[in-house]
């Protein structure tokens, strides 16, 4: 429980010293379909790694294999360099926070926290000390004598975190620990978990299907879909530089245009849209000229009424719908043959408020539009 100076982000830069390693892991429950398909993942010591993905994409399954409650059908999981496939859960020394907390209802908060220490035959005085410290860490010092049922959701959640940490594991798994909380409490708990992670220097594998949660908390995010990691990157990379149509669509808001690549030059390419226009985009994942592609563009990168000639892509658009959101106006426009193209117009003096049916000019740079797989 030392506060390491080099921090988790620094540790994440040293991938060859993997603390947790999934080595071509596959999992099937029924012998017919693979729920996890060839998973390779290295997690560095001290890292906060989030598994993000839609429901049923295999996140919990991966976590359960790591915790030892499910066995990998194929492949190997290594913890600190040693294979753990045949180590039973209670000998792995991995802390775990469950989605429904799983606090023992017949024990008080203190007894819950003492449990992992008692089964480790820790001395009584040591237990008292560690339990107290863990309770203080989650700011629940006065609640030691309560039963879980007498605590609010957020308080139970904190106790669950404290219990997973009290025996000082190096690795803590959290399976959607904030799923049951309301938005405000969620944000507060995200902050607290992050704070605890930073101060203890533990490795955390976190599962969520809330992208905002993943973006704010993680060192790296593994985006899961259909049992495959679609992209493993830092939050910034994931948002700014999605590498597949799925990731672009799953994280953040995203305008999509479909077309066929007509010309490739270096990092860029020209794409003819289904509607006829030609746009310039960054070449990310296109197999070659003539290939179909999905173009992805973040709404906030669209420039309203640009100076003619300043951008390679400038088109006429018509306002279809306006949603007032305070700091900006979310505007749906019809452009290039699609009518679900979103533009964010800042609520500022320079931008006169548009009306429905009005036309405007929109433009964007070739850098901001990413040509991806057809999806």
């Amino acid at each position: 429980m030392s506060n390491s100076d080099d921090g988790p982000a620094a540790a994440a830069d040293v991938p060859n010293e993997a603390f947790v390693r999934f080595d071509s892991v596959q999992k099937s429950y029924d012998g017919e379909t693979l729920v996890v398909k060839d998973l390779n993942l290295d997690i560095a010591r001290g890292e906060f790694l989030t598994m993000l993905g839609p429901s049923g994409s295999g996140k919990t399954t991966c976590l359960m294999m790591l915790a030892g409650f499910e066995t990998a059908t194929h492949g190997e999981i290594l913890l600190d360099g040693t294979p753990i496939n045949n180590v039973p859960p209670h000998k792995r020394g991995i802390g775990m926070v469950f989605q429904n907390y799983a606090l023992f209802p017949h024990m008080t908060v203190t007894e819950n926290l003492a449990f992992p220490l008692e089964v480790r035959k820790t001395s009584r005085s040591e237990i008292d000390r560690k339990v107290k410290r863990a309770l203080d860490m989650v700011e629940m010092g006065e609640f030691g004598n309560r039963r879980p049922a007498q605590l609010s959701g957020g308080q139970q959640q904190r106790i669950a975190v404290a219990r997973a940490l009290v025996f000082e594991p190096d690795l803590v798994l959290m399976d959607e620990p904030l799923g049951a909380l309301d938005k405000q409490l969620r944000e507060q708990m995200q902050y607290e978990i992050k704070r605890i992670h930073d101060s203890l220097g533990i490795t955390v594998v976190y599962v969520t299907h809330d992208q905002t949660e993943a973006l704010t908390m993680s060192d790296r995010i593994a985006v899961f879909n259909d049992g495959v990691i679609q992209q493993l990157a830092t939050p910034e990379d994931l948002y700014e530089r999605p590498e597949s149509a799925f990731v672009a669509g799953f994280i953040g808001e995203n305008n999509r245009l479909r077309g066929v690549v007509t010309d490739i030059d270096g990092k860029h390419c020209s794409v003819q849209l289904e509607h006829g226009e030609t746009v310039r985009a960054q070449r990310i994942r296109v197999s070659g000229e003539g290939a179909e592609t999905m173009l992805s563009l973040r709404p906030e990168r669209v420039v309203i009424d640009p100076v003619e000639g300043s951008l390679p892509n400038i088109f006429d658009a018509r306002v279809e719908e306006l949603i007032y959101l305070g700091d900006h106006i979310r505007t749906r426009v019809a452009v290039c043959g699609v009518d679900d193209f979103i533009v964010k117009i800042p609520n500022a003096q320079a931008h006169p408020i548009k009306r429905r049916g009005e036309s405007l000019r929109v433009g964007w740079s070739a850098e901001d539009m990413r040509a991806l797989d057809p999806g």
Binding site: A67, F69, P89, A102, L103, H106, V119
Partner: protein, 415 residues
């Protein structure tokens, strides 16, 4: 938010809110009450009334007061020492004459016979000759039957002339009045009911423990197996419920008797000498009752276990507990309401059990319930049967309170 204390809330039409609410609620309550009325009446008629009637019978004592009113009155002045004065004998003779005419002396004969054996014939023979008795009645009565010359006889008549009596309870607890009128325990070899009660509690406890040991794993499997298998298992558990109790008990006879299925198998392997006496003793009672009461243990256990998410065990394991510790410290304590409910149910059913011990219990496998039945059907001593029944009921009530103290009745899950 709270209204000022001196301004009561009123509804739009100016009536006090409380009154309005009560009017609105009354209708609902009335409907609810009407809906349960049939059941309420049914329970009162078939359950509450018989129980109170039984409790009344256990202390009811009309015979002597009604049939021997003069004697009762005359005995009030008697100090209980030596023999009563002539006035008592005269009153008794008069009561006997009248009783003979009304054919009521038989009741006194039976009642006194419960207290002193042999009194039935004494009263009956006296009643037959009552009309021919002549003064002095003391001498002529003693001549008719020597019992009338024993002060103890008159002490008993005096004691039992009241409207109510404790004597049925004393008998049910193997107590009696000694010569000086104090309550003492029966001599060891004459005790019947205390050893029987002890045996009933011991066997019931044994059956409870056996059903718990057998039922716990089954309930666990019911609660954790995939639905497909657990449904099948549930049918197997419930199957006995759909079979008549008599059929089940007689099947045990087929299995357990000395020429039965089980003993035949034993004899096949270990020779004829290995046959065991499994029936007409306590073993038979315990085996058959455990089987019959097993569902009553499994179902409450199952309903509790069903509500324990498997996540708790996983959490315990992830915290470092081996499977056994996780079970003992996390799973088992959460099943206690189920264990309590099942044990209470099986124990209560056991201590009142009757038909199975009657069929397979023989002489040593009988329970209190069998003696209650005996007193109702054979000896016709309903007062004693009622006292035994009330004592059984009392022990159930005590058990209930003990359970409530230890586990809390609100935690009980019966199904």
């Amino acid at each position: 938010m709270t209204p000022a204390p001196d301004t009561a809330m009123v509804t739009a039409d100016g009536l006090p809110l409380k009154l309005k609410l009560r009017q609105a609620e009354r209708r609902k309550k009335l409907t609810a009450f009407l809906l349960v009325t049939p059941l309420l009446l049914f329970i009162i008629v078939t359950f509450v009334v018989p129980i109170f009637d039984m409790m009344r019978r256990s202390i009811d004592n009309p015979e002597i007061g009604e049939v021997l009113p003069r004697t009762t009155e005359a005995l009030q002045a008697w100090d209980g020492r030596d023999l009563p004065p002539e006035s008592v004998y005269a009153a008794f003779a008069a009561d006997m004459v009248e009783g003979r005419e009304n054919r009521t002396t038989g009741r006194v004969a039976t009642r006194l016979n419960y207290e002193i054996s042999g009194m039935r014939s004494a009263v009956n023979s006296t009643a037959r000759r009552a009309a021919r008795l002549e003064a002095p009645f003391k001498e002529s009565l003693i001549e008719t039957h020597a019992r009338w010359g024993d002060p103890y006889t008159w002490q008993v008549i005096q004691r039992e002339s009241g409207r109510f009596t404790a004597s049925y309870y004393l008998s049910a607890l193997d107590l009696r009045y000694d010569e000086s009128g104090r309550i003492t325990l029966q001599p060891e070899e004459q005790r019947i009911y205390l050893p029987l009660a002890l045996r009933t509690f011991w066997l019931s406890g044994l059956v409870t423990v056996i059903t718990l040991i057998l039922g716990f794993p089954v309930a666990y499997m019911l609660a954790t197996l995939p639905l497909r298998y657990s449904n099948l298992l549930m049918i197997l558990v419930l199957l006995p419920f759909w079979t008549s109790l008599l059929v089940r008990t007689t099947s045990w006879i087929v299995i357990l008797q000395s020429q039965g299925v089980f003993n035949d198998i034993v004899a096949f392997f270990f020779g004829e000498g290995a046959r065991m006496q499994l029936m007409h003793n306590q073993i038979g009672t315990v085996i058959a009752m455990s089987h019959i009461l097993l569902p009553f243990m499994i179902l409450p256990l199952y309903s509790v276990m069903k509500t324990i998410p498997p996540g708790y065990m996983r959490a315990a394991r992830s915290l470092g507990a081996n499977p056994f510790t996780a079970f003992r410290r996390v799973y088992l304590p959460q099943t206690i309401p189920g264990i309590g409910a099942g044990a209470l149910l099986v124990f209560i059913l056991s201590i009142g059990y009757y038909i199975t011990p009657a069929l397979v219990g023989g002489r040593t496998g009988q329970l209190v319930g069998n003696l209650v039945a005996f007193h109702i059907q054979n000896s016709l001593n309903w007062g004693l049967a009622a006292a035994l029944g009330t004592l059984l009921l009392g022990s159930v009530v005590i058990l209930y309170f003990v359970y409530n103290r230890l586990i809390g009745i609100d935690n009980m899950k019966l199904g």
